[in-house]
């Protein structure tokens, strides 16, 4: 049972922890933990980029990558440990997190030697930031129905269409873009993946103002954007595979350590709440909920241990990422809703000196509601669990 770590793993943990502690000691990355808004966008992005660089310098940028591409070839458990320690230490994700965790591995797996040589080093060093161009206004949960088109005209691909919900798209130098290259049935068979230089003429990037006033996402319009023929990733009409490679990473490794973030959150909440949580009947009622939220957070942690252990024993990552995704979203919603309930009306002050922690509790509550939507809605994830884990009939 466990979790039982080997001695080597514990040594790796100690090193990672020490590196994280010293790298974060100057406190300048605090801002990078927030969601950016119009006021602090520049400062935020600078801190994130700086973290990308530190990771690279520390040798933690390509932890999971094969050594031949500048990575460390770390084991699944080492990746797991680093993610856990990063969460515990309160490290930011970096601006190029998507690039390192999702897109890089997809290029490693599906790219040509040329592509790898040109793109991977600068991705790893943080010099070039990558975005993921998958979702469209009419292709969210149903990604396969995307309508952005790419046509081969001469020796260039001409791209037309729109992408949306791109994390930090306006900071990106490159995008891994999915576009339709053929009308097929089923639709996913006619999709190809492209490596798009975001400075290509014809691309308009527009930040989306979210309900919380933040600007973490963008939409992009592609108007006859021309990219070299060689920037196709993998073969034509095989883009779905590249996307699944990327999403597989998104749904598994990226979750690690999130339970620690929630447990830290609950600890801060218990302190902040003071008497509201300790005194009288109201306090008793809150305490039960606090216990339940803590249990929900640990549920995620134990699921992560369970699957990391299986992956480490050689099982390939599979539909279990849906389990962690649902558990995370629901636990986070439970934690943050408890927070706004416990902290009462003052937690509704958005910002400024009267607000509690400049309105951060409120923001976390907002954001949690998006976790049931992004990277596949809760409904889609439950379908996956039912069909791919429990083997229920699709129809």
């Amino acid at each position: 049972m466990g979790p039982y770590f080997t001695e080597e793993e514990e040594q790796f943990r100690a090193k990672a922890r020490a590196w994280l502690e010293s790298s974060l000691a100057d406190g300048r990355f605090k801002i990078a933990l927030d969601e950016p808004d119009e006021r602090n966008e520049t400062e935020w992005a600078a801190a994130q980029r700086e973290w990308d660089r530190r990771l690279f310098q520390g040798g933690y940028a390509g932890l999971a990558w094969p050594k031949e591409y500048g990575g460390r070839g770390a084991t699944v458990i080492e990746q797991f440990i680093f993610a856990e320690e990063a969460a515990r230490a309160g490290a930011p994700g970096g601006l190029n997190n998507m690039g390192r965790s999702l897109i890089g591995p997809a290029i490693v797996r599906h790219g040509t030697d040329e592509q790898k040589k040109r793109l991977l080093p600068k991705l790893l060093s943080g010099e070039e930031v990558w975005a993921q161009g998958f979702s469209e206004p009419n292709a969210g949960s149903d990604l396969a129905s995307l309508t952005t088109r790419a046509e081969l005209v001469g020796d260039e691909w001409v791209i037309n269409g729109q992408k949306i919900w791109t994390s930090h798209g306006h900071h990106a130098d490159w995008m891994l873009l999915l576009a339709r290259t053929e009308k097929t049935d089923p639709p996913y068979k006619g999709i190809s993946a492209f490596l798009v230089d975001m400075r290509s003429p014809g691309i308009t990037v527009r930040p989306i103002r979210q309900l919380n006033g933040k600007t973490g996402f963008c939409e992009e319009f592609f108007d006859n954007v021309r990219i070299p023929k060689a920037n196709l990733l993998g073969t034509i009409n095989s883009g779905w595979n590249a996307a699944m490679t990327a999403l597989g990473y998104e749904r598994s490794v990226l979750n690690v350590g999130r339970h620690l973030v929630m447990i830290q959150f609950l600890g801060r909440l218990a302190k902040k709440a003071g008497n509201r949580i300790k005194a009288g009947e109201q306090g008793t009622l809150f305490l039960e909920r606090l216990g339940r939220a803590y249990a929900a957070a640990w549920s995620l942690g134990c699921l992560q241990y369970t699957y990391a252990s299986r992956w480490a024993q050689g099982a390939p990552p599979g539909p279990e990422s849906s389990l962690m995704r649902v558990t995370w979203a629901l636990a986070l919603q439970e934690c943050t809703e408890l927070a706004v309930d416990v902290l009462g009306p003052r937690a509704q002050i958005s910002c400024g000196p009267e607000a509690i922690d400049d309105g951060d509790w409120l923001l976390q509550y907002y954001s949690s509601r998006g976790r049931g939507i992004s990277s596949g809605t809760l409904e889609i994830q439950r379908n996956v669990i039912a069909e791919r884990i429990l083997g229920l009939p699709r129809r």
Binding site: S141, L211, Q282, L285, G344, P345, R346, I349, R369
Partner: protein
């Protein structure tokens, strides 16, 4: 047996709907959100329709229509997210002032409120979700026949816009319970009153922090008797809670409508998402909750307009409206997906209002506990 709007209420519903939808459509609302202000013009229009004094009983200078008499208006206002203090001025402050009995000053203020010449707001609890006198620390110090108010009310709706502030203060410093509280009607322009705009989550409303720095309050500004606030509040709070139910139900109506509409239109996997059983059942659950909440609110209206409301039904209604609005906005975001997360989409406006309402005059947890306590004490 009739468990429905009366014919007059149906007429009011129609008028209010036309008015609110006409005057507080999307553009007007977005204008408010980008730069919140008190819209005097709309306020006077509402006064002219007779809506602002309707709830107060005739003997207290109103139209005597009771909470039932404005329920449909508040529901429509909640549906259109009307950014005006109908509830604070037209309901709570008016009812409290009405409780003055035969005091001339109170009647004059009520008249001004009903005619839209003045607006009032309420500054009662200092942690507004806990309806407990222990959380009132603003003091009213005796000074001859008069009082001097010192302290602050951290969150007051339209606190920077109101002409009158109905302030709950501790007039007996030796108490921490019900007995030492007094209600004052304080003109907002009294020296020492300072209101500061407050950015709150509900961006379709206005809020201020109001500080009281040695504010003089004449004997005539006491509502009811000195030390008698608890009794007044006990009479008025249930009515104020039921009025909030109306606003919450209006929000629920609108969000459910939006969800049904969207799930019929939005196509994913080649089908409208409303044809998926997961979405169907979620919308069915929304409808179930709103239907139950509406039923309870109607029953609660009868209770308070018959002079009751101290029992558990009002609490149950408030709690179930809280929960319905929370559920329907949480799940409404889920049904809409990413689009609901944009500032441009209206969903978040309702989502944020729901959060405010359920923390005003009683959270569900607190109310349900009180109902359980009453039942265990044989009090139901």
């Amino acid at each position: 047996m009739r468990f429905d709007l009366t014919e007059e209420q149906k007429l009011l519903e129609k008028d209010a709907r036309n008015y609110c939808q006409g005057r507080f459509g999307r553009d007007a609302l977005r204008e408010f959100v980008s730069k919140p202000f008190f819209n005097k013009e709309r306020w006077l229009e509402m006064a002219n329709q007779g809506w602002l004094g309707a709830v107060v009983s005739e003997e207290h200078g109103g139209l005597g229509l009771g909470v039932g008499g404005i329920f449909p208006l508040l529901r429509e206002a909640g549906k259109a997210l009307v950014p005006l203090p109908l509830w604070e001025s037209g309901v709570v402050a008016s009812l409290l002032l009405g409780e003055q009995g035969d005091k001339d000053s109170g009647h004059r203020t009520l008249e001004a409120l009903a005619e839209g010449r003045a607006i009032a707001t309420v500054a009662l609890f200092e942690e507004a979700d806990i309806v407990e006198p222990t959380c009132v620390s603003l003091t009213a110090r005796r000074d001859g026949d008069s009082f001097v108010l010192s302290g602050q009310k951290p969150i007051v709706a339209f606190g920077a816009d109101a002409d009158w502030l109905i302030v709950l203060a501790r007039s007996d410093a030796g108490t921490t319970d019900l007995s030492g509280l007094t209600l004052f009607a304080v003109p907002a322009n009294t020296p020492g009153v300072r209101a500061t705009d407050l950015p709150m989550t509900d961006v379709t409303y206005r809020f201020a922090k109001v500080e009281f720095n040695e504010v003089p309050a004449a004997a005539g500004s006491v509502i009811g008797e000195v030390g008698n606030a608890a009794a007044l509040l006990q009479r008025v709070i249930p009515r104020a809670q039921v009025a909030l139910c109306a606003e919450m139900l209006g929000g629920c109506d609108k969000v459910l409508e939006m969800c049904v509409e969207y799930s019929k239109q939005r196509v994913q996997f080649g089908r409208p998402i409303g044809s998926f059983q997961a979405i169907k059942h979620r919308l069915a659950d929304m409808y179930l909750k709103v239907s139950a909440a509406q039923g309870l609110a109607y029953a609660a209206v009868k209770e308070v307009d018959n002079g009751g409301g101290a029992g558990s039904l009002v609490k149950v209604a408030k709690a179930m409206c809280n929960d319905a609005y929370r559920f329907i906005t949480h799940e409404g975001v889920q049904v809409h997906g990413g689009i609901a997360f944009t500032w441009e989409h209206d969903m978040h406006l309702y989502f944020k209002r729901a959060l405010r309402y359920r923390n005003t005059l009683g959270t569900s947890s607190r109310l349900m506990y009180e109902v359980g306590l009453a039942l265990a004490g044989g009090g139901l």
